[in-house]
């Protein structure tokens, strides 16, 4: 999900964009025929695997440990955003990537485009570690082409010692108490920029209805004067500094603030929010599919998957891993204890295709207005 686990500097992004620009000089995608059945006894040491993941979203020694455990050499490419890796995967031809980490809505789109392999679940026995809820996610019920890596939601991250009342509704942000005026930040990435307004109005976060979007826009334009800033990446620093009282925040990122200041808390507003999922997919163009399956199976090992929860402070959809992490983490970071049942009550965010431009335009109108 994240526009990168850490969005590097804007400059790095710009370089990446121009590189992608050159790389994808010609569009169009070619989908090869589905490959023959996988060989469970394939020699994995001969399959040099390349994955693309968000920078900083995996252990630094992942390559070495994976090769030690499975035998296949592993090369890791980093991407900063979904858009960046999607550019590579959809540019046509073989991207050279065997396994890609993308958010659920993008996995769905890749499947629609015929670019990802149907998984051979017999090669991923660790799938049984997943929560039952995590096997029935709306973008891919039954994990036919994707396996969830991390999941979570969006809410309000706040300083319990500074706010006049604990926030329970998106309206605490959209129609703030005087004490909070000028002491709040909102997310700038378009889908999440619109989320608070859409949910407070009772609309779907995936709406493409012009009238609904217009109403949400009006709400956000009026709200702008009450915000200190739009901030995707440093909102928890501002909370820690006391520069703000509350912020629209991704759950995992709020944890980075909670880790430093116990007065920082996280709440999912009563109107509901989104369910985001980051997933792993195997590319159809991969020539190392057995190793690719072995990689997914390796990640789903409770010890390996728990690393994400312990170090990134994102919830992982792996029951065995979350049980292994223990109650300490949930005590320190209450949103880590959010149950899968509660999580799947939130609305899954999906790609709205061409209508995405409506969100982009509203985001521009709101922030530049």
């Amino acid at each position: 999900m994240r526009a990168g686990v850490i969005r590097r500097t804007a400059t790095a992004g710009a370089i990446a964009a121009s590189a992608a620009l050159v790389l994808a000089a010609c569009g169009g995608s070619s989908s090869s025929e589905s490959s023959a059945a996988l060989d469970p006894n394939a020699d994995l040491t001969k399959q040099a695997l390349t994955i693309s993941n968000w920078a900083g979203y995996y252990p630094e020694d992942l390559s070495a440990k994976f090769q030690e455990a499975v035998g296949a050499p592993l090369t890791i490419a980093n991407h900063a955003t979904n858009e960046e890796v999607m550019g590579k995967l959809t540019a046509g031809g073989d991207s050279g990537i065997d396994v890609a980490f993308v958010s659920g809505q993008y996995a769905q789109a890749l499947n629609d485009a015929g670019l990802v392999e149907t998984l051979d679940q017999s090669l991923i026995p660790n799938l049984s570690n997943l929560y039952p809820e995590a096997t029935q996610l709306p973008y891919d019920p039954g994990n036919t082409f994707s396996v969830p890596y991390a999941w979570g939601t969006t809410g309000i991250c706040y300083r319990s010692d500074l706010v006049p009342a604990e926030p329970t509704s998106w309206n605490d942000l959209l129609a703030p108490a005087d004490e909070n005026k000028g002491k709040m930040t909102a997310l700038a990435t378009e889908r999440w920029l619109l989320l608070p307004a859409l949910k407070s109005l009772g609309y779907s976060i995936n709406t493409t209805d012009d009238a609904e979007l217009e109403k949400a826009k009006e709400l956000l334009v009026a709200n702008k004067a009450d915000l200190l800033a739009y901030d995707d990446t440093t909102f928890y620093n501002r909370l820690m500094a006391g520069e703000t009282n509350m912020a629209v925040a991704w759950d995992g990122w709020c944890n980075y603030g909670i880790a430093e200041d116990p007065n920082i808390k996280f709440a999912v507003p009563s109107e509901g929010s989104d369910l985001w999922t980051d997933t792993m997919v195997v590319l159809k163009s991969s020539k190392n599919k057995e190793a690719a399956h072995a990689f997914i199976n390796y990640i789903l090992d409770p010890v390996n998957h728990a690393w994400v929860a312990e170090n990134i402070l994102y919830k992982v959809p792996n029951k065995a891993a979350m049980d292994a992490v223990g109650a300490d983490l949930a005590a320190a970071f209450p949103n880590m204890g959010m149950t899968p049942a509660d999580l799947v009550k939130q609305e899954a965010i999906i790609d709205v295709g061409e209508d995405n431009s409506k969100y982009t335009k509203i985001a521009t109108e709101v922030t530049s207005g």
């Binding site: 121009s18 858009e83 540019a91 990435t189 915000l227 431009s357 521009t364 530049s368």
Partner: protein
């Protein structure tokens, strides 16, 4: 332009070949660089501008003018207008601040001049992002400035100094002021002081001598400085994001977002093209005006 004409008929071809060869050697690396890193990317931008966007970024090979008509919508025109306003105000302030500074440095004894110039470019030794971030640390409501003013009782409430258009202008001015001072200094250093002397000897007051001699002769330097400040200010997207708190959108942010967030490469290409055309026009204007000034200077 012309090779020596005093060659025999037979030798002329060889001389021309030698001239061509030396031209190729001297121009080759530069031309290669310009072709690879300027001409081809700009050709790509131009061609993308006329295509349809791909679903996940990239382009579809379908001709379309939609991105051009979209650029004319009020929301995008207002972003462009806002960017022009910010860049213009920044440039004017840089000129007003930079001119006296450059003048003072040019008047210094020689040994102090070098030191002063080193101090002017000293900030460039640290990373631009870090320097911009420093303003956030300084100006935020919990920062040293507000804390200090509160402690001294000058203010009762922290001042909202950050995340405004003014903060963006301060950041840009800080970043690019040296680029105004340096060309101004260069033009002042080259100034022929006997001209000013002549003016005062002929009865002009110091003020009049300044306005009729110094100012026109340093104007080309001022124009170069103005371009150096205006161009990067107009295209900047880091300062508006950090110091504007995302509440001030400039055309640089818009272009960046088209590629990294909105996945609309054709529209991003159109916006980039608008910038290129605009800036080429600006350079042409600058060249024209300086030529006129220099021409007049030569006659005088």
């Amino acid at each position: 332009m012309s090779t020596p004409a005093r060659t025999t008929r037979g030798g002329r071809g060889a001389a021309r070949r030698r001239a061509l060869a030396s031209r190729a050697v001297f121009l080759g690396p530069g031309l290669f660089y310009v072709t690879i890193f300027m001409a081809i990317p700009i050709a790509l931008i131009v061609s993308y501008a006329f295509l349809e966007k791909g679903r996940f970024g990239g382009v579809r090979l379908v001709f379309s003018l939609e991105s051009f008509t979209r650029a004319l919508e009020p929301v995008y025109l207002s972003v462009l207008g806002n960017s022009l306003l910010i860049a213009t105000v920044t440039t004017v302030l840089a000129l007003l601040i930079g001119y006296p500074v450059a003048y003072a440095i040019a008047k210094m004894p020689k040994k102090w001049r070098t030191l002063a110039l080193v101090l002017i470019i000293l900030p460039f030794w640290s990373n631009f992002l870090v320097r911009t971030y420093a303003w956030i640390v300084l100006l935020n409501s919990e920062g040293p400035l507000n804390k200090g003013l509160l402690a001294m009782g000058v203010i009762d409430e922290p001042l909202g100094l950050l995340y405004t258009r003014e903060a963006v202008i301060v950041g840009l001015l800080y970043a690019y002021l040296p680029l105004m001072i340096l060309p101004l200094y260069a033009s002042m250093e080259r100034l022929d002081h006997s001209l000013i002397e002549a003016a005062t000897n002929l009865g002009a007051s110091r003020v009049r001598a300044f306005f009729t001699v110094t100012l026109p002769l340093t104007l080309p330097g001022a124009m170069i400085g103005a371009i150096f400040v205006f161009v990067p200010s107009l295209g900047n997207f880091i300062v508006p994001e950090l110091l504007g708190g995302g509440k001030t959108v400039m055309v640089g942010n818009l272009i960046r977002d088209q590629f990294l967030k909105a996945r609309d490469w054709p529209f991003g290409a159109v916006l980039a093209l608008v910038m290129v055309v605009f800036l080429v026009g600006l350079f042409a204007l600058q060249a024209y005006v300086s030529r006129r000034i220099n021409g007049r200077g030569a006659r005088a």
